[in-house]
Amino acid sequence: MNPAPFLDIRKASKDFGAGPVLDGVDLAVARGEFISLLGPSGCGKTTLLRIIAGLAAADGGSVTLDGQDISRLPPHRRDVGVVFQNYALFPHLTVAENIAFGLRAKGAPAAEITATVERFLTLIHMAAFADRSVRALSGGQQQRVAVARALATKPKLLLLDEPFSALDRKLRETMQIDLRRLLRELGTTAIFVTHDQDEALIMSDRIAVMNRGRIEQLDTPEAIYARPATPFALEFVGLSTRIAGTVTAYDPAGLVTVETSLGSLRSRGRFEVGSPVLLGVRPERIAFGAAGGENVVAPVLSDIVFQGARIQAHFASPDQRPVMIETSGALPAGLTAGSPVTISFAVEDTIAYPLAAA
């Protein structure tokens, strides 16, 4: 038997009146884990976060934290810290006073407050800013103060609502790594809401891919990238080449043959003959030439996109779905847009999903 999870969300549901925003979500998080809720805006990830924090009431379901059912507790009794998207720092207080706020509210002794504030100011490299007004800080500094403020009360669980979205790209990358390291050092259990798949892949122990109020897949970043469980997960996490088709043959060994607009392709999967499927391949698993695997096609090259370390080749696709190769090596010589190019990929790298009949 597994021990009971540290955070256990059961059948959380919420409806603001225009259809379910959360549709019976279950989520179990282990102590010390860093989980990302990844999904497009409107998928319910922020609502789920607010329900865990007690800032929104769920219509149904329960939230259990460290063995205690906190579903009916007001936010200030939950011991759940939040880093808000706009940081929500107290504008009338200094950096140190912001960090001390939670400890003061809980009536901690003055010596403990001073020591904790100093420790966190050092941890976020802002000791020199203790007495500054938070209004005078840059976005990155504000974010660090918001994290320190939330962690200073030693919450059982830290929730982060897109804390990097207001920062520029360069800064974001270093702050992601800094934050991850800080949380690991403190052993903090954290749930991180983001719509940025790169952020989720970099930071998470596990990712919950959310869509339309449901968790479509909950797994490690590697597993989600290699084996997306649903077409949505395939599409939302990382790039993919996607080709629709119809199953023409089923082999008891677990292989299907799919007739597509680019030709006949094979994939692992169990589908009845005649059922419509979507085939997905990661673009870096596709090779130029016929040596990449058993699935060989020759689509028309439409575009070459140079991205520094990587180069993408895009192909015209009869069914309007993206067909692309991503390579970190050199492109073969003599590629011209408008001409067919032979490319190939392995059956093992091809994933088939059931497709609702169009």
Binding site: P75, R104, A150
Partner: protein, 278 residues
């Protein structure tokens, strides 16, 4: 040279208002001030010496300050929650609330004071309500009493308390209070340490508005209290209009002005300081 000229050219936009105030407000005021310190034999403070030597005038000053403070306090206690609710309200509810607060401003003070005369009478609505709920054993007259005056004046000046506070509250990010909650702060602690300090500027201007209006109100005390009760403003009015004693009128007017200005300025500075250290 010309150091006193404003560096920022935008400040010239204030010129029309300054000119207007100089001609129609500052000049008569200076005239009034002059009248109070210049006697038949040159400059003198004898008018003020005489004024302050009279116990009756001290009672008038006391009446003025007590009523103004009470009116400010009552408006604050009633107005602050309303301003918070108004900032939180959305859509139709907010429109209705705003209308309910602003519309009464279009009714003249005299009309409102007469209306309060009816409400405050021994057989008025308030007396009936208090008897019906058992708080009073028998109906009493609130008209021509200080509580009656405070109730009536607070009603008239309430919008000037609510609107400045509302304009500050609606700028406060609602997430600040949520952030306080997730940090373990109880609703009362959040109010004390987040909402109250952040609304302090609105509170100060609302209180300054209501205080300066109620320290100088003339019509309301005249109609709700009558002649036996004098404030600096009603005494000033009587001196000019009834007693034809322009010297006394000038003196009371100046005392009123100095009191009002120093209290408003002083409390503003004080509250700013409190707001900063809280």
């Amino acid at each position: 040279m010309m150091r006193w000229l404003p560096r920022d050219r935008m400040l010239w936009l204030a010129a029309p208002a300054l000119l207007y105030l100089a001609f129609f407000y500052a000049m008569p005021l200076v005239y009034l001030l002059g009248r109070s310190v210049i006697g038949p034999n040159g400059p003198t403070l004898s008018l003020f010496a005489g004024f302050f030597a009279d116990d009756y005038n001290w009672r008038v000053i006391g009446n003025t300050l007590r009523i103004a403070l009470l009116v400010t306090l009552v408006s604050l206690i009633i107005g602050y929650p309303v301003a918070l609710a108004l900032a939180r309200a959305r859509g139709m509810a907010q429109v209705l609330l705003l209308t309910a607060i602003i519309l009464p401003l279009s009714v003249g003070v005299v009309v409102k004071a007469f209306a309060w005369q009816i409400v405050l009478r021994r057989d008025g609505a308030i007396a009936k309500l208090l008897v019906a709920t058992g708080i009073w054993d028998e109906p009493q007259r609130l008209l021509f009493t200080e509580p009656g005056l405070v109730i009536g004046a607070a009603n008239v000046f309430l919008p000037f308390m609510i609107l400045p506070i509302y304009s500050v509250v609606k700028l406060i990010d609602p997430r600040l209070s949520e952030a306080g909650a997730t940090l373990g702060a109880s609703p009362f602690y959040r109010f004390r340490k987040i909402i109250l300090p952040l609304t302090m500027p609105g509170l100060i201007s609302g209180m300054a508005f209501v205080f300066s209006m109620s320290v100088s109100m003339f019509v309301i005390p005249s109609l709700l209290m009558g002649d036996r009760f004098q404030t600096l403003a009603t005494l000033t009015g009587r001196s000019f209009l009834l007693m034809r004693n322009e010297a006394l009128g000038s003196a009371t007017a100046v005392v009123l002005l100095v009191l009002a200005v120093s209290i408003v300025v002083g409390s503003t500075i004080l509250s700013r300081r409190i707001g900063r250290t809280a």
